[in-house]
């Protein structure tokens, strides 16, 4: 996470070690700090990590391969519903997480390929419209099928469990010291996020990553240098969807309940905004974007309500409206001040040491 450390103003440049320690400390201690304020905040952090995973997955499609996807949340839904079917009393199956999560990822990847095939020849606006439609179709299906319980959704999902111990019960360390379930979820999700970062980072610098970068910059030229653009694009959709599917499964386990409401177009747009806001194509940026844009609305919610009460004696603006307002404002200011995102992507796909002339780079 050196990139994040480098991004801290002043400290990052002059005391890189201190900056790294600060970032690492914050990441590790965040739930403890948040718990001291209130459990709501730990819950917010948990959700933020799920958004980080979503943003990382979407970045693969949008940032690396340059394929605009407005229906990404559909893969999250596929993952979440897979969990709901295979780990809840709904149909009475209770598979362990290490079976359900890969299955959810596989189904999501399959959905990614299914979406990928018809849109192979589309670019830009047209691609956006079709993917948007795809996202809506999945949501509306979930809301109208009887196996999914329609709009009521499915509840009492199993939580993450390991050797018969359920994470949602918390961890009784000693008689009067118990680690909160929400805190445990944080660390569990953190592991998945770190795993995702490692995998995505390797992908980015692989032949596959270079192929995606080529398609993003010029598809015809990519074909002309021997890249199988069809397979590469399908792979981008499938890989991106995989991360969506895994985080969807985690979401199901965390929430204990899924319904179509969680997978609206607005969510797709929110995740896309995180990617664009943070810096398309740059992992550090995407992570910061996802954290910032999932935490800020919550902070705002807790400030805005009492503030409005105090100032006007009543609530004029609903927090949900404020969230949209904030996302829009964030985008506008970003376009004005940092058009390539908070932490813009480096032009090169390669590790610095891969190039002979890195010293001349400046």
């Amino acid at each position: 996470m050196n990139e994040l450390a480098e991004a801290i103003p002043y400290l990052g440049r002059h005391h890189p070690k201190a900056a790294r320690a600060l970032v690492l400390g914050l990441i590790l201690l965040a739930p403890v700090l948040a718990a001291s304020v209130g459990n709501t905040w730990v819950r917010v952090l948990d959700a933020a990590l799920l958004y980080v995973m979503l943003a990382l997955g979407l970045n693969l499609v949008v940032g690396f391969a340059g394929l605009l996807d407005l229906g990404y949340i559909a893969f999250y839904a596929v993952g979440a519903y897979t969990w709901a079917f295979l780990a809840s009393p709904h149909i009475g199956v209770h598979l362990p997480f290490w079976a359900v999560l890969p299955l959810g990822a596989a189904f999501a990847a399959l959905a990614g390929v299914l979406l990928g095939f018809p849109v192979l020849r589309l670019r830009g606006d047209y691609l956006a419209i079709v993917t948007l439609g795809f996202g809506e179709i999945v949501r509306i299906f979930m809301g109208n099928l009887s196996v999914t319980n329609g709009p009521q959704g499915i509840n009492m999902l199993d939580s993450l469990s390991l050797f018969g111990w359920e994470i949602s019960r918390g961890l009784q360390v000693t008689e009067n010291f118990k680690i909160n379930a929400l805190v445990l979820f944080y660390y569990a999700f953190l592991l998945f996020v770190v795993g995702s970062v490692v995998v995505i980072r390797r992908l980015q610098f692989s032949r596959i990553g270079r192929g995606w970068a080529a398609i993003r910059d010029d598809e015809l030229a990519a074909k002309a240098i021997g890249i199988n653009t069809r397979n590469m694009k399908l792979l981008a959709f499938a890989m991106g969807a995989t991360f969506g599917g895994v985080s969807g499964g985690l979401f199901g386990s965390f929430q204990g309940f899924v319904s179509p409401e969680s997978f609206t177009l607005l969510e797709s747009i929110a995740v896309l905004t995180m990617v664009v806001f943070g810096g398309m194509g740059n992992l550090g940026g995407v992570i910061v974007g996802a954290i910032a844009l999932s935490l800020l609305p919550e902070v705002l919610r807790h400030i805005a309500l009492p503030l409005q009460q105090a100032l006007f004696g009543k609530v004029l603006l609903d927090p949900e409206v404020l969230r949209m307002l904030l996302l829009s404002l964030a985008m506008i200011f970003m376009m004005l001040l940092r058009p390539a995102g908070l932490l813009p992507a480096n032009a090169r796909y390669a590790r610095a040491e891969y190039l002979h002339d890195k010293q001349e780079a400046a």
Binding site: D218, A221, L355
Partner: protein, 247 residues
């Protein structure tokens, strides 16, 4: 044409290309022999770029046959043709604007796995394109048009092509730069690479090419050696765009 007797490296037989209802190429046949520099000239919309893209495999053909090194490649996808030595430098250069110059060049070797040979080829390209070598770490999108064209050609060379397809390398460039690019093209021909060059700058192309084909309205109308075509009054008018059929 010393290689006339040998089997052609590339052969097109009655190739037609359609965009929906519109037929852009209406049945053309042409041949390229190993080591030749052949140009394909004609006005805008004559079907030159479509023909080139069909040979590279980035555009499907409606009917006819493409043969490369004696084998039919009509239905072979583009990425497999690259492996067999067909490289296209697309119209408008088509470089990867967000990658650096060196990354662009290395991308040319995407299909190759022999590391040492790639490094050697990279050095060879550097010596051929000294201006490009000075800018290796620069983001390719910030290069001048001429430099971008050089990068595009260099990138194509890194795939070790046997047949190089150049689509209007002179487009939008100053005469001095165009001359430099044609010098590079000649060096490449000397190394034994067969080149099919599409150009609107017919004068220049015919001066360098051994043979030429003139395309008009989707058909090959005239063919001959470079000198013959240069003197042909019909070529001069086609090149000037005075024919009725041109859109």
């Amino acid at each position: 044409m010393p290689t006339e007797q040998s089997a052609p490296i590339l052969e097109l037989q009655d190739v037609r290309i359609r965009y929906g209802q519109i037929e852009a190429v209406k049945g053309i046949s042409l041949q390229l022999h190993r080591g030749e520099l052949v140009c394909l000239i004609g006005a805008n919309g004559a079907g030159k770029t479509s023909t080139l893209n069909a040979i590279a495999g980035t555009l499907p053909i409606a009917s006819g046959e493409l043969r490369y090194q004696g084998q039919s490649i009509t239905t072979q996808p583009a990425h497999l043709r690259v492996r067999q030595g067909v490289a296209l430098v697309p119209e408008g250069r088509g470089i990867f604007t967000r990658l650096t110059v060196e990354e662009n060049l290395r991308m040319g070797a995407y299909t190759r796995h022999e590391k040492q040979a790639v490094e050697a080829d990279l050095e060879r390209v550097y010596s051929m394109l000294p201006r490009v070598k000075e800018r290796l770490a620069q983001v390719a999108g910030t290069l001048s048009g001429g430099e971008q064209q050089m990068v595009a050609i260099g990138r194509a060379l890194l795939s070790r092509p046997k047949l190089l397809l150049l689509d209007e390398p002179s487009m939008g460039l100053a005469p001095l730069i165009v001359e430099k690019i044609f010098e590079v093209v000649q060096t490449v021909v000397k190394e034994g690479v067969t080149i099919l060059l599409v150009e609107q700058n017919a004068n220049l192309a015919l001066e360098f090419a051994q043979r030429g084909y003139v395309m008009d309205g989707g058909l090959i109308t005239i063919t001959g050696s470079g000198d013959e075509l240069l003197r042909d009054p019909r070529v001069r008018s086609a090149y000037l765009g005075e024919t009725e059929e041109t859109p």
